[in-house]
């Protein structure tokens, strides 16, 4: 049962991502990327009241909370709205970075591989 108390839009994306990685196409993503991303999402303002997710594309897992296996390959900070835009391909990650909508720590080459095609797209009712 999902935690329904969360009001973040990104939570829906992460939930879908978790199930997606269990599928055949999700396994292809894991094989292709093979990196660990830590994603911090703030509801309104960058850096405030952040919720942390770990997208482990080595194991193919999505968990809540910081990465506990050492340092992640790259760490991203987003606002909730901006993360949804990047995940759904509405905003280019490089443009998001130039606009200051996204902050990056860690390996820049790992950050370069953080592209919208990693995330599955939600269908519309």
């Amino acid at each position: 049962m999902a935690d329904s108390s969360s009001n973040l839009k990104s939570d829906a994306i992460m939930e879908q991502m978790k199930q997606h990685l269990a599928t055949d196409s999700g396994k292809q993503v894991t094989k292709k990327i093979g990196l660990v991303y830590q994603i911090q999402i703030a509801p309104k303002k960058l850096g405030i009241d952040e919720v942390v997710y770990t997208v482990d594309l080595r194991k193919g897992e999505v968990t809540k909370g910081p990465y506990e296996g050492g340092k992640p390959d790259a760490s991203f900070s987003f606002k909730d709205e901006d993360f949804v835009k990047v995940a759904l391909g509405k905003m280019n990650p490089q443009i998001a970075f130039m606009r200051g909508a996204m902050k990056i720590k860690g390996s820049l080459s790992a950050a370069q591989k953080f592209t919208p095609d990693i995330f599955p797209k939600p269908s519309k009712l």
Binding site: S4, K9, Q19, N92, Q94, L108, D117, L125
Partner: protein, 736 residues
């Protein structure tokens, strides 16, 4: 034309000099600009002038105010006034002023004569000055209208011999410019007609012999003329211009000497040099003024250089000004280097004005127009300054652009330090282009901020007698984009029509545009707050936008306003909604009416909101047993299956929806999403293209298409996607 204007301007100075009725003053003025040797001799003359009886002749012949700003009895002792004298003579204002004074003085003696009735004449009322002005202006007008100028009897104007000579000389030269395309005979006829009207003998010689008592001065005059003739040859244009008038004067040698003195390259350069020489003392210690003057001259030279006329560019005058602006001008005797008169702007501006107003000589002559050189130049400088500001703006833009590029390259290099190598810079350049494009798009999106409906441009259904019915018909036929236009016409006509707004929202939702769907439904809800279909539609759209709080509010509103289940919803609960509480209420409603498909539909949307997809699927499947022909219900089932990662099942549900409604754009787009989420990018591209062919405004589909093209390694089609070239995309990705 520039050369002719130059000749005209120079002639004005010459005429003004010759028009003076004081031969001694005229000779003295000419000699001032002569060689230094002659000037040296002239310095001996003042000692003998007071004792000569000629002074009596001068004082009785002309009033003292005939020479304003200059005392005749000591014209050569005040060296500081030499430059001023030169400039005054160059502008010709002194001569014109004398002429004007004489006209004013003789005006009282004018008499009027009766004119024959019926003859068309220029107005002859008023002072003799006005009569003369009118006749001269009609002379000019005859050149424009192409009507030959006819002689007319005029009252006696009291013109002196000097005035007549001046008018004759000026009109002869001016006519050759006005009638340049006419024959020589025509020009002669026009000039003779004018002179006849003014009672001027065209054959009168310009200069009579000097009185015998001034023979010594005449020798000095001839000597200075001899020096000028040895100068460099004048431009060919000038020679040819002068040759045309040679046979018109009984004393061609005299005319040639007079003209060459004024225009010959050596002549006026020599005059200018001597003016500078005589001003050496005045200019000593005026370095700052010289610097400012040179700056002014440089800007003037730039302004003059903008004139593209080759004759003007090659003129001696422009070259002279350019040399001054560059500080290259050096006096021959090497006493002054890189000097420029502070007042050089004045006479240069006068030249510029002459060039611009070549046809204003009649008005100039009569009104004794005084050139406001400094003011003219100040205006010119202001214009130059504005151009300079424009240059500054360009420089700032250039610098800004450079800065941005440098920053982008620098950042690209940082990425290049990784494993990606040289392609990083290209990637960042492309990203920057996208950034610029997206900025433009972002500005546009500001206009369509949340909740504001954006009407289409050029709606052909505006003015339709019954757009609501038309919209409903188009909607049933599946022409959603057309239905949108018709329904927009309806709500423009009747903004409070809730049904119009509701259908508009449904059409947008089916066209896969949730932004517009939400905006339309919010207007519908304002018009009718209790409409159940509107509340459900808003709940669905907000669920699609992942807005849990808003979706919960509208779904609860559906339950509360339902006539059957409203009693289940306590009013105080609306202030603080919790998902668990609302879900419990809906479950109670479902138990209350197991056969009500609407309850199950809303419950299915609720379970999507909480991501309890298995329960949502069960609810929709139960509703479909009750409403198997509801295409939107099939789409809802498919979307729920897709979001719970059962994409294969979703595709079958979507197919059912499309069988029921082939133009269901949202279902086509959802098909593409399901194929993409399974990694089948080639198939997903075809479905996205199909959806976009039906509704090119489906923004989500464009974004997803781009991702699929990239993942399918079809980068050759990215440009077609970015430029939204649907024809090319449909040809490349047909859907069987």
């Amino acid at each position: 034309m520039a050369m002719r204007d130059l000749v005209s301007g120079a002639a004005a100075c010459g005429d003004s000099s010759s028009s003076s009725s004081n031969p001694l003053a005229s000779l003295a003025n000419a000699l001032i600009g002569s060689s230094s040797k002659t000037q040296e001799r002239l310095k001996e003359i003042p000692t003998s002038t007071p004792t000569d009886p000629a002074s009596q002749f001068y004082s009785t012949a002309l009033p003292a105010n005939q020479l304003p700003g200059s005392e005749f009895d000591k014209p050569l002792l005040n060296l500081n006034s030499q430059a001023s004298e030169f400039l005054h003579r160059f502008r010709g204002s002194t001569g014109l002023e004398e002429t004007w004074d004489e006209i004013q003085r003789d005006g009282a003696a004018a008499q009027m004569r009766q004119l024959p009735p019926g003859i068309q004449q220029p107005p002859l009322d008023g002072t003799p000055q006005r009569v003369l002005s009118n006749i001269l202006h009609s002379f000019l007008d005859s050149s424009r209208g192409g009507v030959p100028f006819h002689p007319a009897p005029l009252p006696m104007l009291g013109l002196s011999e000097g005035d007549k000579q001046c008018i004759r000389d000026r009109s002869s030269i001016m006519a050759r410019h006005l009638f340049v395309d006419k024959s020589e005979e025509f020009i002669d006829a026009q000039v003779n007609a004018l002179l006849c009207s003014l009672d001027i003998d065209s054959s009168v010689r310009g200069k009579g012999p000097m009185p015998e008592r001034f023979r010594e001065l005449e020798d000095y005059w001839n000597e200075s003329q001899g020096n000028l003739r040895l100068g460099p040859p004048a431009p060919d244009g000038w020679i040819s211009e002068f040759s045309q008038q040679r046979e018109k004067y009984d004393n061609p040698d005299s005319w040639a000497n007079s003209f060459e003195q004024q225009y010959g390259a050596n002549g006026w350069v020599s005059e200018f040099e001597h003016s500078q020489l005589s001003s050496v003392d005045q200019m000593r210690g005026m370095n700052m003024s010289n610097f400012a003057a040179r700056e002014q001259t440089r800007m003037l030279a730039n302004t003059l250089a903008q004139n593209g006329d080759p004759k003007f560019q090659n003129s001696k005058f422009l070259q002279f000004v350019s040399k001054m602006s560059r500080g290259e001008l050096i006096i021959d005797d090497n006493q002054v280097k890189e000097n420029a008169l502070p007042a050089s702007g004045d006479w240069a501006t006068e030249y510029n004005q002459q060039y611009n107003h070549g046809h204003a000589w009649a008005g100039e002559f009569l009104n004794d127009k005084v050139y406001h050189g400094p003011d003219q130049w100040a205006n010119e400088f202001t214009s130059e300054g504005r151009q300079h500001d424009a240059v500054d703006d360009q420089w700032v833009n250039e610098f800004s652009k450079l800065k941005v590029n440098d920053w982008a390259d620098e950042f690209g290099q940082q990425f290049g330090e990784g494993a990606l190598g040289d392609s990083t810079s290209d990637s960042w350049a492309q990203a920057y282009d996208e950034f610029l494009n997206e900025q433009v798009a972002a500005k546009q999106q500001l206009d369509s901020s949340r909740g504001v409906y954006v009407f289409s441009d050029l709606n052909p259904y505006v003015g339709h007698p019954n757009p609501l019915k038309e919209g409903q018909d188009l909607f049933r036929k599946g022409l959603l984009s057309e239905a949108v236009l018709a329904l927009e016409a309806e709500v423009l006509k009747n903004p409070e029509n809730a049904e119009g707004w509701r259908l508009l929202g449904i059409a947008h939702a089916e066209n896969d545009d949730d932004q517009q769907a939400i905006a339309a439904m919010m207007r519908a809800q304002e018009a009718n707050p209790t409409n159940l279909e509107v509340l459900l539609a808003l709940g669905v759209s907000h669920t699609n936008e992942l807005e849990q709080t808003a979706a919960l509010k509208y779904l609860y509103g559906w339950l509360r306003h339902h006539p059957k289940y409203g009693t289940l919803a306590p009013p105080e609960m609306a202030d603080s909604l919790y998902y668990a509480d609302v879900a419990r209420l809906f479950n109670e409603a479902a138990e209350l009416s197991p056969d009500d498909a609407d309850v199950h539909i809303v419950l299915g949307v609720m379970y999507n909101l909480s991501r309890e997809y298995d329960k949502a699927i069960a609810s929709f499947e139960r509703a479909l047993k009750l409403k198997p022909q509801d295409y939107s219900l099939w789409n809802k089932l498919g979307a729920t299956q897709a979001n719970s990662v059962q994409s294969a099942d979703a595709i079958m549900a979507y197919q059912q929806a499309l069988d029921l409604k082939p133009n269901y754009v949202r279902a086509w787009a959802n098909m593409g999403i399901s194929y993409a989420n399974q990694g089948m990018y080639d198939e997903s591209i075809r479905y996205y293209v199909r959806a976009l062919a039906m509704n090119p405004k489906a923004e989500n589909a464009w974004q997803y298409l781009r991702i699929s093209l990239s993942c399918a390694s079809r980068n050759d089609m990215l440009e077609a996607c970015d430029s939204r070239n649907l024809d090319l995309l449909q040809k490349e990705f047909p859907l069987q």
